[in-house]
């Protein structure tokens, strides 16, 4: 889809930079391609335009046929998106919270991810599943999990976790117009003000599977994505004052991840720390660290370390939850350990 800037819709109700960025992508997609439809709980304006107001204004602009509020029926929502995609549409389905992925997992894992392969390439499932999550806000064990590792383990899916408004907008558009099923994960911290950076440009897209170097450095590479990448950048800025030069690489896409960019960075710095908010054991960090070891074993000056969540459900009580989330403290500790 090529976008003529003069043809872009006027601004919809503004909420904040991150929400506006997501809305801008949806608005551009809906205006540019009649096959784009949105399905999800409470997403139409009559129901408030979505729990985070991301879709506020869109059903009034494009109609409730294309911006459809659904019953609370995650299997039916994702199934409808898959079928509509087989029928030639580009549905964007919203699963209000990432834990509800578990309710729809048969549709996502057995069907969306596999129909192209099982049909020998005769059919494809160009759907985007938007979903929100993230610990740190007292939502407890069933509303906060980072489950990108489950999904990245499924061949056939693409899994995207942007950390800035511009990446969110550009990647969401890329997901919608990608021919494969994409899971687009929105971290709650970004909704609530942690997101920073320039506003996205109209028409701009960010390619899936391409990392972004947040900050260049020479002593150690921090690799990660989503909210912890913001923490890593803050730690790197602080360590700069001590003369420690940290390179921060935001993967932006977990599957397929930008292995070449990571290996190039670590080949330069010879040390790496991998960070994510999902549970550390059997998490994406294990895969990334393992690939670094396999490719750069002789060139490393230290073991590749991982920072992730501990092996327990997301706790409710604030001190417990703050200890659960891999924040700046644990990232700094891991960096210093790898630099010893």
């Amino acid at each position: 889809m090529s976008v003529d800037e003069d043809q872009l819709p006027t601004l919809l109700p503004s909420v904040n930079g991150y929400v506006d960025a997501l809305k801008m992508a949806l608005d551009e997609a809906l205006s540019g391609d009649p096959s784009v439809v949105l399905l999800g709980e409470d997403i139409a304006d009559e129901q408030g335009g979505g729990v985070m107001k991301v879709t506020l204004g869109l059903s009034s602009r494009y109609g409730t046929d294309r911006v459809r509020t659904t019953p609370i029926s995650e299997q039916a929502i994702i199934g409808a998106a898959i079928g509509a995609a087989l029928g030639g549409l580009r549905p964007v389905a919203e699963l209000m919270l990432m834990n509800f992925v578990s309710v729809a997992m048969d549709q996502i894992f057995n069907h969306a991810a596999k129909l192209r392969f099982m049909s020998g390439g005769q059919t494809g499932v160009p759907i985007t599943i938007r979903t929100a999550t993230g610990a740190g806000f007292g939502f407890g064990a069933q509303h906060s999990d980072m489950l990108e590792g489950w999904l990245a383990h499924a061949p056939g899916l693409k899994v995207v976790l942007p950390s800035t408004p511009a990446d969110a907008k550009g990647l969401l558009l890329s997901c919608i117009f990608d021919d494969d099923p994409c899971i687009f994960v929105e971290h709650a911290a970004l909704y609530f003000g942690a997101a920073s950076g320039p506003a996205p440009e109209p028409g701009a897209r960010v390619p899936i599977g391409v990392a972004r170097t947040v900050r260049e450095g020479t002593d150690l590479t921090v690799v990660g994505y989503g909210k912890p990448i913001l923490d890593a950048a803050a730690v790197a800025a602080e360590l700069d004052g001590e003369g420690i030069s940290i390179e921060v690489v935001d993967l932006r896409t977990v599957s397929p991840w930008d292995e070449a960019a990571v290996l190039a960075s670590v080949a330069k710095t010879r040390r790496a720390v991998v960070v994510h908010e999902s549970v550390q054991q059997f998490g994406p960090g294990g895969e990334i660290a393992s690939r670094i070891n396999e490719e750069l074993f002789g060139q490393l000056d230290a073991a590749v370390l991982r920072v992730g969540a501990p092996s327990c459900p997301v706790p409710y009580s604030n001190p417990l939850e703050m200890a659960y989330v891999p924040g700046v403290g644990r990232i700094e500790q891991a960096i210093r350990q790898a630099l010893k």
């Binding site: 439809v37 046929d65 294309r66 459809r68 659904t70 019953p71 029926s73 995650e74 299997q75 039916a76 994702i78 199934g79 409808a80 998106a81 898959i82 079928g83 509509a84 995609a85 087989l86 029928g87 030639g88 549409l89 549905p91 048969d106 549709q107 057995n110 069907h111 129909l115 192209r116 392969f117 099982m118 049909s119 020998g120 390439g121 005769q122 059919t123 494809g124 061949p155 056939g156 693409k158 990608d178 021919d179 494969d180 397929p256």
Partner: protein
């Protein structure tokens, strides 16, 4: 809906025959060692898709399950594509990458075959939604068994389809067993069709062994869906003669001998001849032609090559990615 005319009645018989003879051929291949695959025979259930398919166009959608050979053949999946896929050959409908449980043939509207009980029902809704939003008069048929009506996805789908008046027909082929469990041991409803009531949907129970009754009731439901009247749940009561899977000992099916004695296939054949809609000679000629077509398809499937290993890297994504 009025009675089908003679040509339609014979066409229904032809579809039933295409299904029955192919099923028999697959079982022969299994017995002889020509094939070694998991097979879920649909012998006994031929009347249902034969009665439905007479109303469907190639661009109408069908979703079915692992016990789907009858639905696939009735919708028009060619024998060669089907049997080559059964044998895992590159010439199969899915290049050998799906197998019997995942037959897909969009050229004739066979969109999904799922191995997950109930998993295809929400997808049929989506196909119907696409047709509705695109302003087309296509319909989607969701085929499933009695067992699938205990799965959450079934209930979510019926609710959504009725809410959105989707052009879909929910076709429950009630063969009285969910895997090895008799219907009385897996639900308390007298009729699966009663479940439609909870969703404000029309539900109909019919004799799934009577192809003319299926033709009439499915025809009404398909017409209703095409005309924007929304979905119907049809419960077509039938029976599976070969148990859950090929090789199933069937000890848990006490009524099996009686059901087989009342096989709807020869009954329909006799009925057509008796009514004068066709003759023994015409049917024998048709059956022989189908048998010859099967001979050719089996030969083709056996002679075809297996897929190359590069296929592991293809069709995982739209773009080939080395694995």
């Amino acid at each position: 809906m009025s009675e089908p005319d003679s040509a339609e009645k014979v066409h229904i018989y032809e579809l039933m025959t295409r299904i029955k003879q192919c099923d028999e051929r697959v079982r022969k291949m299994l017995m002889s060692g020509q094939a070694a695959i998991m097979y879920y025979s649909a012998r006994g259930q031929e009347a249902i898709p034969a009665g439905i398919s007479a109303h469907l166009r190639d661009d109408d959608y069908v979703v079915t399950t692992y016990r789907g050979i009858h639905d696939q053949i009735a919708k028009g999946v060619p024998y060669k594509s089907l049997l080559a896929e059964y044998l895992g050959k590159s010439t199969g409908s899915c290049k050998g990458k799906g197998g019997p449980m995942h037959i897909t043939h969009p050229a004739v509207g066979l969109m999904v075959t799922t191995g997950v009980v109930g998993g295809g029902i929400p997808i049929a809704n989506g196909l119907a939604l696409a047709a509705q939003l695109q302003g087309q008069d296509r319909v989607a048929i969701a085929n499933f068994g009695d067992g699938a009506t205990n799965i959450g996805a079934f209930h979510e789908s019926l609710n959504l389809a009725q809410l959105w008046k989707l052009p879909v027909v929910f076709m429950c082929q009630n063969n009285l067993y969910g895997e090895h469990t008799a219907i009385a041991d897996h639900q308390v409803n007298a009729h699966v069709a009663d479940r439609a009531v909870g969703y404000g949907m029309r539900g109909v129970t019919i004799d799934g062994n009577d192809p003319i009754e299926v033709w009439k009731v499915a025809g009404e439901a398909i017409q209703q869906a095409r005309n924007g009247g929304g979905p119907t749940l049809i419960e077509a009561v039938t029976y599976r003669f070969m148990g859950h899977y090929f090789g199933d000992m069937s000890d848990y099916m006490p009524e099996l001998a009686d059901k087989m004695a009342a096989d709807p296939f020869p009954a329909y054949r006799a009925r057509l001849i008796e009514s004068g809609d066709t003759s023994e000679e015409q049917l024998a000629k048709m059956e022989a032609a189908i048998e010859a077509e099967l001979d050719e398809a089996v030969e083709y499937a056996l002679a075809s090559d297996y897929p190359e290993l590069i296929e592991l890297s293809r069709d995982v994504y739209a773009e080939e990615v080395p694995v």
